[in-house]
Assembly symmetry: D2
Homo-oligomer: 284 residues x 4
């Protein structure tokens, strides 16, 4: 099959476990738990040894297993939003008064890459409201949103696009939503990975080659991704010159549902006191 | 890999050739040629023996190899349109005064399944013009268009949707545009198959289970399809409960370009005397 | 200004009142009340005298004033949905086991005419689920949906499109969502009118010239419309050959919000026991 | 009617002529001609006196009357593209090796404001190609594109969005496409205005309050706009708290056609040796 790559810290861990038959790994702390009925794996990469081993920068990662959502367990949407919003809040800086820039990466015209831009449609954007009527909206965190588009349509790299926006807005943090690649079919459209180290170059469905992180942007970058594809380099014995994507058959419905979940979850993480129903009423 | 299925007559032929080491097949006539610089394979299934062997109903099929298009050979778009329009015209009834209904099958929200609805955006729709000003538009073939949508969004099968439209419009023919499955990676987004036997149930990216053909609709149905996916039932040794789709990485750009090619080609086949540039100016 | 036309029964009534200084009108019963905090005007046209006077067929109409929604009064979205769903349920037949076809009329590419197709994106479509797993989904009313598109894109009239679907599905009723024309600026995007007499030809933003009603379709047709435009035939003294549309500046945000309200309200009217939050989780 | 505002230099001139019965105006030179069959009015504002009188900054403006296009005169699309591309080229700097950033301003979800983002879909974006394969694409001007979105969806002003992109790309010029307001109904969707002074704050359909021009961006900004609305502050005697928009009934078809014309014309102006048909083939 020639599957080549994973963006998921939990899959890198699994591979290491298979290869080395180890029970613990230097520089990597793993903790499994559950929140609101969803299994959560927290991975802390604590030093460069761990970073080398797992192929992820030093930092904190949380992976939520979304399968209870698709089993339609009681109250699934609200519990899913609550789980994701708490995990996300834990990765964000404490003080967000300067606001948050939410970046939807990827290609709206390609289903497997559309999670970023579609999530923005389910996000409550508030920066302009807070600026115009600061007293009335004083309880809101200012939120701006940008869909960075794709190279073929803009001629610009994601990083080129975001740097300008960050320089202009000077927010407290960036949340970057993107589609990821996984190795295991069961994780496709069934997992959310968050991390406080931004996006590693080369990740995701597209070719975002310049890192989007605290080093390049100067502020914390929280990455939030969903694996939607398995990348394969050859099929049935033939080596292909160009990689192929493997996706579930119902990718469109899954991506739409996950985008809604993510947009609502980010809104809940950033705005205290709102409910799912409030967001449905307030979305533009 | 467990690749299971092809919608392409040329791939069924190849399989037969490999399996039986035959040079000719009873009930199937194959002719290879070129038109406007594009390789064309014409397959005529002449009796039930041939139909059984190749897995396609008795009828005529033409497959155009589009690779010269993506090599950007001189004048590629106009030549591609001309090639497809002539092949399509050969499959259509001679008399089209009663008009043609062009059906865009598939799911606009899923890139690999969006060729049908996107092609309609590049099609010149004329039925309403001919009806309102029959004298002014007397040289136009009346063309109506319908995007049949997908079961999850409409609750209706493609066939249920089309039957009503055909009963109301009573056109001379239906042209049904759909995404197909192929076995060979090199054919993905690089081949157009046309045939005068409609759509066989179970074909395509979706699950269009009721046949769309002359028997069920009462008029000739010309199917025009592009393979955009390889269906696989298991990856890397694991049998999956649900089939997966394999697509090229640049599926979105390919689908957009092919939709434009198909919309223009159908328009050229149906309206005499128009040029590519005319259509660009006239599209709604 | 040359404002020419209204689709709203309440505006026809106002005109009559101004013109005739009457307090009651033969053949027309008007009742004002409130439901869930929203003002509701119920108009019953009881005979042909009333129908002539008010320019609407004999039947029942309910108009909901949505201004509390845009004042963001407490719990506005849930209360709005509940109000509309009850009013709609009162106009629908009692028995819906055969299902309901929801038709989104109008042009998705024109903001002021997009309420119909956009509302369908917020509607729970269930017919295919009920048919596949009748036992599991036995509590659901089967709901199918069709966006009829516009003449310029399809070459077909709305009525031609719907008749086929109704003949195929044979549902208990049609709910037809459309954009309307009003005379008063304060009603634009701030009113929902429902009625059990279908759509009168010539209404709405487009030119739906063939009636969509029980007579032409053979089953009850409940129309649900929102005025989004004022039609004017001349501006500033100049008589125009072609009518113009007047819309609010924020028409896009209003139309998006109203489409969500309408999709959720219809879903609540048709499916017992669901909540707003359930629908957010279940939408495709 | 309370029509309040025009973005068109030619309408400001007309008003002055009516008011003052003048034949010439100090600081303003007007020249009427025709190009490729389209009437062109060139206005040069040469000093501050002229700028005050006409309400436009010192600079050059060209207005093309597009009515021959909609009369479908022979070869209308190609001639229209050619006319616009020559007028645009005359306003651009001579040397474009550093590339051009094309900005599509406005709201894709609002038909009357969608010309900017829709035009980008008909623009050949080349910057990434030139950077990757400079030798192969050495004859292309590098073109990048950005849709700036709207305040309610991004929380950012157009200017905030563009400044970052310009700082990153450092192009030779910006071309900013926007929808405009006119006073005369006959000019709606029938005129293109270009100018080398950027966008004056407060113009257009939205509320782009910060100037987008050479002063704020540091490089030449060529504005290209089409009037799609008449703004009115009251209708039929009632003063409204909020302005309304008046648009043609067929605004969606007009906007789509004009967006195609503009995207092709900008591409022709920037890339020597291409034809309309080439662009149709090459568009992504």
């Amino acid at each position: 099959m020639g599957t080549t790559r994973t963006d998921l810290a939990v899959e890198s861990l699994e591979n290491l476990k298979k290869a080395k038959n180890f029970s613990s790994l230097e520089g990597v702390a793993v903790q499994e738990s559950a929140r609101c009925g969803f299994p959560v794996t927290a991975v802390a990469v604590t030093d460069e040894t761990g970073a080398q081993a797992i192929g992820k920068p030093v930092g904190r990662y949380a992976t939520v297993d979304l399968r209870p959502l698709f089993r339609r367990e009681t109250d699934f949407f609200r519990r899913g939003c609550r789980c994701l919003s708490i995990e996300l809040r834990n990765l964000l800086p404490s003080h967000l008064e300067r606001g948050v820039l939410v970046a939807g990466l990827g290609n709206r015209a390609m289903t497997a890459d559309a999670i970023g831009p579609l999530a923005l449609e389910n996000l409550l954007v508030t920066r302009h409201m807070v600026r115009r009527q600061p007293q009335q909206f004083r309880h809101f965190t200012p939120v701006a949103a940008v869909a960075t588009g794709v190279l073929a349509a803009t001629g610009m790299e994601t990083m080129e696009h975001l740097r300008g926006a960050v320089e202009t807005l000077r927010p407290a943090a960036v949340i970057a939503i993107d589609a990821l690649a996984a190795r295991e079919r069961t994780r496709l459209c069934a997992t959310v990975q968050m991390g406080n180290t931004g996006l590693v170059p080369g990740s995701g469905v597209g070719n975002h080659r310049k890192a989007v992180n605290a080093e390049t942007l100067g502020i914390p970058v929280i990455a939030l991704g969903v694996p939607t594809v398995i990348e394969v380099s050859h099929l049935g014995g033939t080596q292909d010159s160009e990689a192929l994507f493997v996706t579930p058959r119902d990718i469109d419905a899954k991506v739409r549902e996950l985008s809604r979940l993510i947009g609502y979850s980010i809104t809940l993480a950033l705005q205290e006191g709102l409910t799912v129903e409030d967001i449905t009423g307030l979305l533009g």
